[in-house]
């Protein structure tokens, strides 16, 4: 099995299946033996006015750019532009992150200052320049990658990438005349002249970019990559708890099980008779009002107390008892009518009796202990007293009111 596989790989590896070239001529190639010959040949070709030609050497030759009449390379402009961009982007990033988006005081220093920003700005500049230089040189200036150039995979290319020097004049040149070019090459000492033909794939007007399979593969890969990236980033950035080492602790959460206690409950009930702070139970709970005479109003009468009392009374008492304590509240007819607060009994009541009724409830009136705080109850009682006095005002009171 494995031997078969290896054999088939070997067969594939050594099989010669070079596709035949088309009949269309790409250009004429000449090979030379020495650097001096190629320099002279290039000079001559340039002088004769050919433009669509190039020289191929295993390593860069000094003076060849001059011989070919080339201007100096413009790679530097790309490097410079992207370098400046990298510098500005780095500075902008540092400034925005450390003083705009999340200003964080570190050691009492300014949010942004230039000296500590310089190292990273410098590295950013270098990074952008380097990447721009290499990619710009390869892609923008040399139009690489381009694997199916008609020159690749030829005997000519095998020679010029090792130890010979070659020159190619392409048929697209306006002055291209096969016989004349050959003559020119030979006059400069070419030891071999080769005809380079286009590949079939060079001639089709269909660009491989629009191949259905290619587009499908690109879109498929794109969607897959986007999905994986989205899910991964989403998980990493929003689901992974970043600093969780104080979260994971040996403790029992409320409502959780514990095998330690006999009843398996994680929560412990308080010891019998425990009273929580601020939760002292009402001692006369459920008793008739006759037993509570000891209570007296702890609040002093003041405008503030009365206003508070009025406020609470209007909210909690007035629905049944009415705004003035006459027992004609807004719920009249829906509930049994409560007694007026101006009856003989009420007028004679101690403050403690009122307190008991509010706290404990009476007949159909429920306890208001949950809704009304202790101090508010006493404030309400002061307000009830005010209502009672206003209904039974003496002349003396009237005089005071003036």
């Amino acid at each position: 099995m494995i031997k078969k596989l290896i054999a088939s790989i070997k067969e594939y590896d050594t099989k010669d299946d070079t596709t035949p070239r088309s009949k269309k001529l790409f250009g004429l190639a000449a090979l030379y033996n020495t650097p001096n010959e190629i320099i002279k040949a290039a000079s001559e070709v340039t002088e004769k006015g050919y433009e669509k030609f190039d020289v191929y050497t295993p390593y860069p030759l000094h003076g060849m750019d001059d011989a070919m009449g080339m201007k100096s390379s413009k790679v530097g402009y790309v490097s410079f532009t992207l370098g400046i961009t990298g510098m500005l982007l780095s500075l902008l990033m540092i400034w925005w992150m450390s003083s705009v988006n999340y200003p964080n005081i570190i050691g009492g220093k300014p949010f942004f200052s230039l000296p500590p920003a310089i190292p990273i700005t410098f590295e950013g500049t270098i990074l952008f320049t380097g990447i721009a230089t290499v990619l710009g040189m390869l892609i923008l200036f040399n139009q690489l990658p381009k694997i199916n150039s008609p020159l690749n995979d030829t005997d000519f290319m095998k020679n010029v990438s090792s130890d010979k020097y070659g020159i190619v004049i392409r048929t697209e040149d306006n002055k291209f005349q096969e016989a004349e070019v050959k003559k020119l090459f030979l006059s400069e000492g070419a030891y071999d002249i080769q005809e380079i033909y286009f590949r079939e794939s060079n001639l089709t007007t269909k660009t491989p970019l629009f191949d259905k399979k290619f587009i499908g593969a690109i879109i498929g890969t794109g969607i897959l990559t986007a999905a994986i990236t989205y899910l991964t980033l989403n998980y990493v950035l929003y689901s992974v708890v970043p600093f969780d080492w104080m979260w994971e602790q040996a403790r029992i959460d409320s409502q959780s099980k514990s095998s330690f206690f006999q009843n398996k409950a994680g929560m412990r009930p308080p010891v019998n008779g425990t009273v929580a702070r601020g939760f002292i139970p009402y001692e006369f709970k459920g008793m008739p009002d006759s037993s509570v005479k000891l209570l007296s109003n702890p609040l002093a009468v003041s405008k503030k107390t009365l206003e508070r009392g009025q406020d609470r009374y209007n909210i909690y008492c007035s629905p049944c008892h009415g705004y003035f304590g006459d027992g004609d509240g807004r719920l009249k007819g829906q509930f049994p009518k409560p007694p007026s607060l101006h009856t003989e009994k009420s007028l004679k009541w101690e403050d403690g009796n009122f307190y008991h009724v509010i706290t404990n409830g009476q007949n159909v009136m429920p306890s208001y202990a949950e809704q009304v705080k202790v101090d508010d109850r006493w404030a309400i009682i002061h307000y009830i007293r005010t209502l009672q006095r206003s209904k039974n005002a003496t002349d003396e009171d009237m005089g005071k009111a003036k």
Partner: protein
């Protein structure tokens, strides 16, 4: 590359007048033949070391960095020593490929490719240590200013963050430099091989390079620009590494001499490593006429020079400690030289400053066995330099009540061995897969490679590219 051949006459850079075909054969041969027994032995040793390192790494991940000897007050130890050591090793590669290129040192062509590869592998090895040193390497993403659910960003005024940017930029640029240099060589290999599979791989990797002069023109300019930016870059990297120490307030670290001192030390250690490996490689792959004694001698001269710079820095640290009148600073240096770690200090001084003085003699410089011994000692000395700087400064600081001694654990030592394993494994794979000397560059500096006639510039009739 475009080095002017009218400079002073020198010995031929390639000995024995080989033809270009011979050069192709010799350089590409290791990639076409099956590995030799020697290679397998070397690979076995280095990959075993790598596996040992991997095991120690697994222990560290599982149990945490409590497996290491680090403890208060020595919070940085082997982790950071190894980081600084390996980053330093990388610096020689960039020095050779960029700085010597700008200085028009043509002899660099024989060793540049190899040194660049070494840079990349050394930076990869170095990069592991700061990440595992944090103790939670799976959170390393927070080193970068990436948006996260906490809404916070990194601290841009911390030298540790500068380090992240410097090292990652350094790796990227070194990799581009190296990869770009490989393109023409891969094209040569593509046109040479008879195997269809190899040809496809080389075709893709060489991007369809055609050796066209219009392409060479842009290529050379790009090479020059990369060399130009790599030079300040390499100086910045170890400067920023030294800031990790110099920006703190620990006596022995808080000194302004650190940036130049670290850069000189990095180049020194890097050349030590380049020499060590090249001496073996040129022998194993029969490249003694390409990587000549002349190369080794020139590297020994650089070792002598940088070794003396490092020696000057050692002396100046002592002088400043005395001159500053700062008793803490004075104590640290006296403690370094005569305290409990004095043995490490004197290993450092003798390997880095005293022994390299032998290179004053031409006989020593051109003797391969002595050079090999001396450059290995340089490697040892430079590792100990980082040990001395880090451990002796930390173990006795301001408070005598918190003084303690540092002892590495077996895991520490395993990780150190593992780092060598990783570096050498990558290097050995590189030697068998890619040409270890730049074919196109070496051809360009051979005798008779460049034309002797210089045409007058033509009036431009084409705009440089088509």
């Amino acid at each position: 590359m475009s080095l002017d051949s009218t400079y002073t006459r020198e010995l031929p850079l390639v000995e024995g007048k080989p033809t270009f075909k011979d050069i192709d054969n010799v350089i590409i041969l290791p990639t076409e033949t099956k590995p030799t027994k020697g290679w397998w032995i070397a690979f076995g040793i280095s990959s075993s070391a790598l596996m040992l390192g991997g095991f120690c790494l697994a222990l560290t991940f599982y149990y945490g960095i409590g497996m290491w000897g680090n403890n208060q007050p020595v919070g940085w130890a082997f982790d950071i020593i190894n980081f600084v050591f390996w980053i330093g090793i990388g610096h020689a590669g960039t020095l050779i490929s960029a700085i010597l290129y700008l200085f028009r040192q043509k002899w660099r062509t024989g060793i540049a490719r190899f040194a660049e590869a070494m840079t990349i592998f050394a930076v990869m090895t170095a990069g592991i240590f700061p990440i595992i040193h944090t103790g939670r390497p799976w959170l390393a993403g927070y080193l970068l200013p990436l948006p996260n659910q906490n809404g916070v960003w990194v601290n841009f005024s911390s030298p540790l963050l500068w380090d992240v940017f410097a090292v990652s930029t350094y790796f990227t640029i070194s990799f581009l430099f190296w990869g770009m240099g490989l393109i023409p060589d891969l094209a040569t290999m593509r046109d040479r091989t008879t195997s269809k599979i190899k040809k496809t791989i080389y075709s893709v990797l060489s991007l369809g390079w055609t050796n066209s002069n219009r392409n060479w023109s842009n290529y050379e300019r790009a090479y020059l620009i990369l060399a130009g930016i790599s030079t300040p870059l390499v100086l910045s990297v170890h400067t920023i590494v030294s800031f990790d120490f110099a920006v703190s307030v620990i006596p022995g670290w808080h000194t302004t001499i650190f940036p130049p001192y670290f850069v000189a030390g990095a180049i020194f250690s890097g050349f030590g490593m380049v020499s060590t490996i090249l001496i073996l490689v040129r022998k194993v792959f029969n490249m003694e006429h390409i990587i000549t004694i002349g190369h080794l001698e020139k590297m020994n001269k650089i070792l002598l020079a940088t070794g003396m710079m490092v020696g000057y820095a050692y002396a100046m640290e002592f002088f400043i400690a005395w001159y500053s009148g700062n008793t803490f600073e004075q104590f640290v240096f006296i403690n370094r030289a005569f305290g409990p770690y004095a043995w490490a200090y004197w290993i450092m001084v003798s390997c880095n400053v005293i022994f390299p003085q032998l290179f004053w003699s031409k006989k020593v410089r051109t003797s391969i066995p002595i050079t090999l011994i001396l450059v290995i000692l340089v490697n040892v000395g430079m590792w100990f330099e980082r040990f001395v700087i880090i451990v002796t400064s930390l173990h006795r600081d301001f408070l005598p009540s918190s003084w303690a001694m540092y002892t590495p654990t077996l895991v520490d030592i395993g990780l150190l061995i593992g780092s060598f394993g990783m570096f050498f494994t990558l290097l050995l794979l590189f030697l068998k897969v890619l040409p270890l000397v730049s074919i196109s560059e070496i051809k360009g500096v051979m005798d008779g490679a460049q034309p002797t006639i210089h045409p007058h510039p033509h009036k431009s009739n084409s705009n440089g590219h088509h």
